[in-house]
Symmetry: C2
Subunit: 333 residues, 2 copies
């Protein structure tokens, strides 16, 4: 049977994983790519550097809390940060649809420039392509980043008893996109959490917190990230639903639309896997940052070697939190 690419192949969930495994990793096979991490650690002149790439196709290109430009810098910075790497150099490549307003391009480019400056990261090289009207949707941006690895992290370092922390409420980014796409962004207070996370990662590393692993739960949300980590480390994870922060408006919107908040994308959140004894210190440090007051300890690593993710529900039960198969909200990044 002839097979075709579906939107779910881009969801960050089970089908993306299958596509990446069976087509990309199989063909490009090498030790770096085999880990299928958000970035790869390579050796350059004897130093350890992380390299990561992301193409941004978010629709709409401007949303409450950010735009495709800010997102393109934050997304790549966060993939580096999740590898314990300080962002150093970024590339920026633009695919622009003919007829796109130069003024809008200028706004988005300024937004990228501002975010890069704040992160003390230089956009050192770029590329521009223009395609005829109807051959792309306004603007796609690729950013690729190189970062200096301060601490080597690996799912192999995850141990039973490790605590799982998150730096704030979930689902804001995906829902802000959904709200603006449906035209009701003016009627909700939901804003994207789009934010560069190197700052808080640096803080934890500088204070020698015993961080074993980190992952920013973007496409596929906490569900996809937790499942990937469980698969990779071999242990099962337990998440406590009532501890997972979410704003009232996000909770309501999810309830109305029948969405699972843990499946929804974040763009300013990090899951930290921290050695048990250092968890209180990590939480205190995170909460000392104004944007992370709602940081929370949301779960732990179990000794069971089944690679499952259990969600202890607020109602008192427990269920398996699966990898999202389709895309709750497509094109969120």
């Amino acid at each position: 049977m002839k097979e075709y690419i579906s939107l779910s192949h881009g969801s960050g969930g089970a089908l993306t994983r299958k596509l990446v495994h069976e087509i990309f990793a199989a063909a490009f096979d090498n030790a770096y790519l085999r880990k299928l991490d958000d970035a790869s650690v390579v050796t350059l002149a004897g130093g350890r550097y992380a390299m990561t790439t992301d193409s941004f196709v978010v629709d709409p290109i401007v949303f409450p809390g950010g735009d495709i430009g800010k997102l393109a810098v934050c997304g790549t910075v966060n993939d580096l940060a999740s590898c314990g790497a300080e962002p150093k150099y970024l590339s920026a490549s633009f695919v622009i649809e003919e007829g796109f307003a130069l003024g809008s391009l200028r706004t988005i480019v300024s937004s990228m420039a501002r975010e890069a400056r704040e992160q003390k990261t230089a956009i050192v090289t770029g590329d521009t392509k223009v395609v005829p009207r109807g051959k792309a949707d306004k603007l796609f941006i690729n950013t690729t980043g190189i970062g200096f690895v301060h601490k080597l992290l690996d799912t192999k370092k995850i141990r039973p008893g490790d605590k799982i922390l998150i730096n704030g409420p979930v689902a804001q980014h995906g829902l802000s996109i959904l709200a603006s796409r449906q035209g009701f962004e003016g009627r909700t207070s939901i804003k994207s959490d789009c934010k560069s996370l190197w700052g808080i990662v640096k803080l934890l590393l500088q204070e020698h917190v015993d961080v074993h692993f980190m992952r920013d739960p973007t496409r596929g949300g906490v569900s996809a990230a937790a499942n990937e980590i469980a698969q990779s480390c071999g242990f099962s994870l337990a998440l406590l639903e009532k501890r997972i922060p979410a704003t009232a408006s996000c909770r309501s919107l999810c309830e109305i639309l029948g969405l699972e908040p843990l499946d929804i994308a974040n763009e300013g959140k990090m899951l930290f896997f921290v050695g048990e004894s250092d968890a209180p210190k990590a939480l205190r440090l995170l909460r000392s940052v104004p944007s992370c007051r709602q940081a929370a300890l949301i779960g732990e690593v179990l000794s069971e070697k089944k690679s499952k993710v259990y969600l202890e529900t607020s109602a008192g039960g427990s269920r398996v939190l699966g990898m999202p198969v389709t895309d709750a909200i497509p094109r969120i990044c």
Copy 2:
């Protein structure tokens, strides 16, 4: 007046230059980007590395002599090579249109993998996005590369008297795209010259040829590359039309369509600026490579400081070869 992006903004000619200067370089302003070279040289762990990025939107995605996958590797390898850099690590990011055949994706990915293997370059990190039908044209690929700089090159090293060499016939890539787009690819022998050039660059550097500068004349062809170099070094250049190699079929097609072969994109050509006394050695070395038998000395750097490019025509006259303003053939890479 409200301004919009036109196809010519992506031509690699004067409008691309204006866009890059006024919007991207102005906003991202830093010493790396200010050079507006095809790649930037950055320092990592005390070593010099080049970083370059390219998004490929070629239409059609398969053409005589290659496909978008091979092109995505060669294009980035060649941008590194033109900086005297040995390709080390590549990232690959895919924007795929919903409904694209998995079989075609597999073929293109294999073609990338094969080219990367031949170049001893690892694709270490990647990303996949899927957009709804009609929101992208089949498949766009971004590759970003990091290479180790063997020799620092700069237009500042260009001197009057330097000889300009090219490793073979011009205009093949752009014309092969045009031919396949018009559906007459079966009736011409024109094939893309799509090829990784690190091999020949390495040869010249290993043999200590006094190379001052290199540039691969892709979008905008030899005309755009020569004009950019003249602008950057300040000297005028003289090119000898009758010395510039082109196949008979390329010449005929250009004549029929009223195209200037020097404006047409190449994907396997390099312009070498070589110290006068080393030019014969460089030519001999290039011609020793089977794929470069038609390498030629095609011009020289003048002492005039007007940043002009003169073409000494076959008819015996001389004219200014301008930067192409619009795109002879859009979406060639």
